[in-house]
Amino acid sequence: MATRTIGEHTTVTTTGVRRKRFSESYIGEWITTTDHKQLGLMYLITGFFFFVVGGMEALLIRTQLALPDGKVLSPQVYNQIFTMHGTTMIFLFVIPVLSGFGNYVVPLMLGARDMAYPRMNAFGFWLLLLGGIFMQSSFLIGQAPNGGWFMYAPLSELVAGHAFEATPHMNADFWLLGTTLLGISSITGSLNFVVTIFKLRAPGMSINRMPLFSWMILVMSFLLLFALPSLTVASVLLLLDRHMGSHFYQYGNGGDPLLWQHLFWSFGHPEVYILILPAFGIISEILPVFSRKPIFGYTFIAWSGVAIGFLSFTVWAHHMFAVGLPSIAQAFFATSTTLIAIPTAVKIFNWLATIFQGKIRLYTPMLFALGFIAMFLIGGLNGAALAVVPFDYQITDSYFVVAHIHYVLFGGTALAVFAGIYYWFPKFTGKLMDDRLGKWHFWVTFLGLNLTFFPMHIMGILGMPRRVYTYPANLGWNDLNLMASIGALIIGVGVIMFMINFIKSLKYGQPSGDDPWDAFTLEWDTTSPPKKYNFLEIPVVRSRRPFYDKKYPEHADWKSVVEH
């Protein structure tokens, strides 16, 4: 009879010694894995790697702009750096990291053994990694994308249809092909999330009992599925213009450059909510656990996420008020943009009600979650200001807009990502991160981000255009720019503190046990880190806090709460 020794280098059988398979070697295991947890970690590590790359690009930008008449970078390189900073942070940091959390946590939260399509899951990850390497490798030949993260036509055309060459080299091609690869990756990931969430929930976990993080991943997945085709179409048309002689975006030849803006932003604005909705989900998981209360207004939070998803497809032209839209279109898009603030505010009120009179435990994940609410509120409010057409006319394409997007995406999403890492790190590794160092990380980051991005509001109102290479000393922008650059350095120090904490905790961290936060949801109802099969027995769910019910049967939610 054959015997098998799991974990040994060889398998002993009656017929002899079998050679170790490639997939059983350390490297081979990572390369061939289809396990959602390993892939989730690979997404997270890849995303964080690109966060560091994008962060260094940001530091280069701030170094160039720290003083007037800066000459640290050439104008050509500066264009490449700011384009790749935006592209890297949006496509290669935020989306992968959020997908990483989703990959690791969603099946566990749902009580599933894996994602619905494990091999497709691996395929999506590898596409992401190759797409990222492909785009960043453009620096090696000095032809990184240089038309902004939105790659506006006709600036991105080979020949603009007039008497000048716009982007004659491969710069824009790297962007177009890279985002197409990343788009395929996101589509596969989204399909996988949708099927997993609809088909693999544990018995008893109705859609109305699903954790809010899974809800937000579901909405994000639908947004990706419906928004990405627009970007793909826009990219293919631009590639045809550049290489096949078509004229979709060339005004001089009967095309329309505004077509690019419509196609791009009908992807680009849902994209903003793609980047923020899972962050809402992370916050909605952390606040109740650290307030020792169930989430307030579960239904409102879940359905406001759906409402945001729908409305996000109706607001794209608020990026285009200054191009000369008809009044009726301006009125429509201003109204829809204002409307989207309502479900967003619903979430914020529900979070505040959740922590109100709660038994708050101020550990690092909670600090980051509270920081998220404050910073996202600022980003949301100045976003609502941008919906006012006359105001938008004044500050469009200025540093005010840069301040807005960074309060939303750094003050919002990045803080939520850090909150998620501190919260789920014990689940990933079985160890706790250093809470004291984590708190230092939070306060340094909080100081740095406000010092960097708040002055940008004033710079924008004073007329400093975004994407500008340098500026003369007599415009009153000097001190504000210097302040922003110092703030960026402080953020960099915060990131270094996080990396030290991460590595230190990984090596010497205190064992966390399976459930260090006394949490409520199913991902904590298994070992830390979980076994390959996740759960010994598939759990049965009776309320929105199944693990809480199991730990405290005398106070179980299902005894007192009626849910449908």
Partner: protein, 123 residues
């Protein structure tokens, strides 16, 4: 870390140490396992034998609700190299679009090979 959390972590670590991890899986949660007929969730720390004894004393229905016991390797997806191969070949095809027909041709051939490998691979 507060005393409260320290205590909680200690309890949790102790529970983990006493856990038996090599138990087979219940791969098929049955609709019969409705909460009304069963304790909310069986303790994960129970071994197969203990679990069987517990269930044996509580009747036929609960035994059926637990489902077939299977090995983890039977139900978990196997590792595969084809997702990486497929991703690489798609990247090659797209690169070929701008780099020239030779790269494009190599990419298409790779893509076909990887498609076949993926489809024909036994689960």
């Amino acid at each position: 870390m507060s005393q409260e959390q320290k205590d909680h972590v200690e309890q949790s670590v102790q529970a983990e140490e006493s856990d038996v991890t090599a138990a087979p899986l219940n791969s098929t949660p049955s609709p019969d396992s409705a909460p009304v007929e069963k304790e909310p969730v069986a303790a994960e720390g129970t071994t197969t034998t203990e679990g069987a004894t517990k269930r044996g004393t509580t009747g036929k229905k609960r035994t059926r609700a637990r489902g077939r016991l299977v090995n983890a390797e039977e139900v978990m997806p196997r590792p595969s190299i084809w997702p990486l191969g497929m991703a690489f070949s798609i990247a090659f095809v797209l690169f070929g679009v701008i780099a020239g027909p030779i790269f494009l041709g190599i990419g298409v051939v790779l893509l076909l090979v990887c498609c076949l490998g993926w489809i024909l691979e036994r689960r």
